[in-house]
């Protein structure tokens, strides 16, 4: 398919790729490469789960660091991107949930269903302890149903605003009463607190429970449209294309909400492959930082540093700002965050060093800044030996804005590319 198209696919379906990774995919037929990306879901994480030791604050830090480590270690970055996508769709925030282990189990669910089945995931989320705590379902009882989960489920997870009424929210809330969490943070159904009465929801009447409500919602065409519009915004373009989103939504519904066919159709769509759409999305803080560490082959002795950078840039995993999640797109870049992104990239470039190399890790550990190293610059194994033109091609989705000195050393080229505004795009 060629180097540029391989770069585009990997930057959209992962966290950014090294020249070697791009070359390997460039040698393949495009559809084969997409099938491979979608065909290797392990369903579980590669790294060991967090240790769950220490105070709650330390456990929370351990949880964030663990996911960052997993994103860096994984051999299937699209699974992590989809796990993050579901985390941002079915949001729960550790701040309110309060239990790192419940958030970890929710994260495992998202990874298991990374490209599984949306309907199955929706039903699992409705009984997920972290979600029950986050949106107050755990406290919702027949006598006084708490509307929070029912409302956000309809507004943000499935139909979207304008496709249901206040009465639908109230009746859905009644149907979910009794779905709670026990003291071991496991899901429990409290029959005596469930409202078993007759309910009218989206024009249908019956003795509905929560699953019935979710089945009705899954039968509504808006649900697939909302999910596909979000996929489009995350993977294809900031500009919605209603016809294409409608086509993808039809594929999602026709396939019984299986995710693989719709993801494949999206990656194969002409809009996704159109060269005009290269560099048309803004990297999220997680993509920017995980991608840069991966690309530079940087040692990561302390993921706490990375997570504090993510927090400052506005995207700390497990801490979405509210139930709507991170809005993404243009909102990632403000006068504040653009300045901060450049600051962090400068730190990384300057930490990426020329010598000496760590004997066991074969990675640079300390030394001079890439930018100032001139011709003496030696890059880490991910970038060493690549000529300047290919480095530019691998690091940037389009021509840089700032001037790069002709015949600059490879190290100086990497530094210039990463500090160019175009590096913020994917």
């Amino acid at each position: 398919m060629g180097f540029d198209e391989a770069r585009h696919l990997l930057s959209r379906a992962g966290f950014g790729a090294t020249p070697a990774e791009i070359r390997a995919v460039a040698a393949m037929d495009y559809e084969t490469a997409v099938d491979r990306l979608l065909g290797i879901s392990r369903g579980n994480a590669l790294t060991m789960p967090p240790a769950w030791s220490g105070l709650p604050d330390e456990q929370a830090r351990g949880l964030c660091n663990w996911w960052i480590e997993e994103m860096l270690a994984t051999d299937q970055p699209l699974v992590e991107r989809m796990t993050l996508f579901w985390h941002n769709h079915f949001t729960s925030a550790l701040g309110k949930v309060g239990s790192p282990s419940a958030m970890y189990r929710q994260n495992a669910l998202f990874r298991r269903e990374a490209f599984g089945n949306f309907g199955r995931l929706l039903k699992a989320v409705a009984r997920d302890p972290a979600m029950l705590i986050y949106l107050d379902g755990a406290q919702s009882i027949a006598r006084q149903p708490n509307e929070n989960f029912a409302r956000e489920m309809l507004e943000l997870f499935t139909l979207g605003e304008g496709h249901y009424g206040e009465a639908d929210v109230k009746n859905a809330a009644r149907a979910f009463t009794g779905w709670s969490v026990d003291r071991a943070e496991l899901p429990v159904f409290r029959r005596d607190q469930h409202d078993g009465g007759k309910k009218t929801f989206l024009g249908q009447t019956g003795y509905f429970d929560g699953n019935d409500i979710l089945d009705i919602v899954l039968g509504h065409p808006r649900t697939a449209e909302l999910v596909c519009a979000k996929l489009w915004h995350e993977f294809v373009s900031l500009t919605p294309d209603p016809a294409e989103i409608g086509r993808l939504a039809a594929i999602l519904r026709a396939g019984g909400y299986e995710m693989v066919p719709v993801l494949k159709a999206m990656f194969l769509s002409s809009a996704f492959r159109d060269p005009i759409n290269r560099g048309a999305l803004i990297k999220s803080p997680v993509e920017l930082l995980v991608g840069s560490v991966h690309l530079l082959g940087l040692p990561v002795p302390d993921t706490t540093t990375i997570s504090s950078m993510m927090m400052a840039l506005g995207q700390l995993p497990f801490y979405p700002p509210n139930v709507k999640g991170w809005p993404g797109g243009e909102s990632w870049i403000t006068t504040y965050t653009l300045l901060l992104r450049q600051t962090y990239l400068r730190l990384m470039v300057e930490a990426t060093t020329v010598a000496p190399m760590d004997d066991t890790m074969k990675r640079p550990i300390e030394g001079r800044s890439l930018r100032n190293a001139g011709n003496a610059a030696k890059l880490g194994p991910t970038l060493a030996g690549i000529d300047p033109a290919e480095l530019m091609q691998a690091l940037l989705p389009r021509q840089p804005i700032e001037w790069v000195a002709p015949h600059a050393s490879p190290g100086a080229v990497v530094a210039a590319a990463m500090l160019d505004p175009i590096y913020q795009l994917k």
Partner: protein, 360 residues
């Protein structure tokens, strides 16, 4: 000279009923058997309503008559979605209308903007929507030192063709704003005196108020500064959280007022607190409250006409369990636009109810 508006967003939906309390109404006790504030703790303002005891630091302003309470503010057909409702507030739209430009930008559409600082509005928060508009230069920052240091590290460059790429256009636009803002702000903030009394003791909210103080006393010719205090979405076990938030709000605003008076700038400033909605009149089973509708808001400033304005919504005539609004929030914005920037704006309303909040 235009006045500077300090916007204070209370994120999550502040419980208006426990902020300005209709303590004398027996229905209040009935709706809030556990969450109600005891009559003897309420700071009584008249024979009907009073302030939550944690708002005690604001009683100086109340006595000085530069603290106005606008009661029962909301809008018809209220949305109970956080995102939709704050969008309505931020853009001054009606409930059924989607607008993308902030209300401050709309109010200043026909105003002659002051030149000099390269920045019209400064947001010391993450949500900049109220001051977002194509003609306003808005800068978002978390603290001044970091902002200036980073801006200096960037080099200005020649205009670039964005090839119709929306993401690239946005990126380049943000870069340009940074250069322009940094140039004007740097000199003024470097010489701005520290606040006479620091609000830093009340945490991040206080630190951001202190930065707002420096921006104003340093003479940065801005039209609006926005800060926020989060955590008001109290669905469960509300009382301790809400009390702590009100204490932070009151201590912060009282310190800000003290500093403005000390610097001789209190007459040049208007403070407006607002939230996406109030909360359900009846407490829920989790000792919290769910999303509601109308709520009071605060206006402070040297030229503000202090006291209670408007009328408290009736607790006997609820709409889906929520307080009905007695004043439209766009009428408050119209009064602010007039009082701050001498602009006459209706925000799409056919008839503006003139509110006598600010002495001209």
């Amino acid at each position: 000279m235009p006045r500077i508006l300090l916007l204070v967003e209370l994120k999550g939906g502040n419980d208006g009923l426990n902020t300005v309390i209709p303590y004398a109404d027996p229905l209040y006790r009935e709706l809030r058997p556990d969450l109600g504030v005891a009559r003897e703790r309420v700071l009584q303002l008249d024979e009907h309503v009073g302030l939550h005891p944690k708002l005690e630091p604001l009683t100086d302003a109340w006595k000085a008559r530069d603290f106005a309470i606008m009661q029962g503010v909301g809008y018809p057909d209220p949305s109970r979605s956080h995102f939709r409702s704050i969008e309505i507030w931020d853009t001054a739209s009606s409930s059924s209308q989607i607008l993308t430009e902030g209300w401050v930008a709309r109010a200043l559409e026909h105003a002659a903007l002051p030149k000099g600082a390269g920045v019209d509005c400064i947001v010391i928060d993450t949500n900049a929507l109220p001051v977002m508009g194509p003609d306003l230069h808005t800068v978002v920052m978390q603290d001044a030192e970091t902002f200036l240091g980073q801006a200096q590290a960037m080099t200005a460059d020649a205009p670039v063709d964005d090839h119709g790429n929306q993401a690239l256009r946005h990126l380049l636009d943000v870069r340009r704003q940074i250069y322009e803002a940094a140039a004007g702000l740097r000199d003024r903030l470097q010489v701005a005196p520290a606040p006479a009394r620091s609000a830093g003791g009340v945490g991040l909210f206080g630190e951001r108020l202190d930065l707002a103080t420096r921006i104003i006393t340093g003479g940065v010719p801005v039209l609006a500064v926005k800060i926020a205090l989060g955590g008001f979405d109290t669905h469960a076990n509300q009382a301790p959280t809400h009390e702590a938030l009100l204490a932070v709000l009151a201590r912060g605003l009282a310190t800000f007022r003290y500093n403005m008076i000390a610097a001789g700038r209190w007459d040049d400033v208007l403070v407006l607190t607002y939230s996406e909605f109030g909360r359900r009149a009846r407490q829920n089973a989790s000792l919290g409250t769910d999303h509601g509708a109308a709520a009071p808001l605060f206006v402070l400033g040297g030229r503000v006409k202090g006291g209670l304005h408007g009328s408290y919504p009736s607790l006997a005539d609820l709409q889906d369990g929520d307080l009905r609004h007695t004043v439209d929030f766009r009428d408050v914005y119209s009064a602010i636009a007039r009082g701050c920037w001498d602009q006459s704006v209706a925000f799409g309303q056919l008839a503006v109810q003139k509110l006598d909040l600010v002495a001209l």
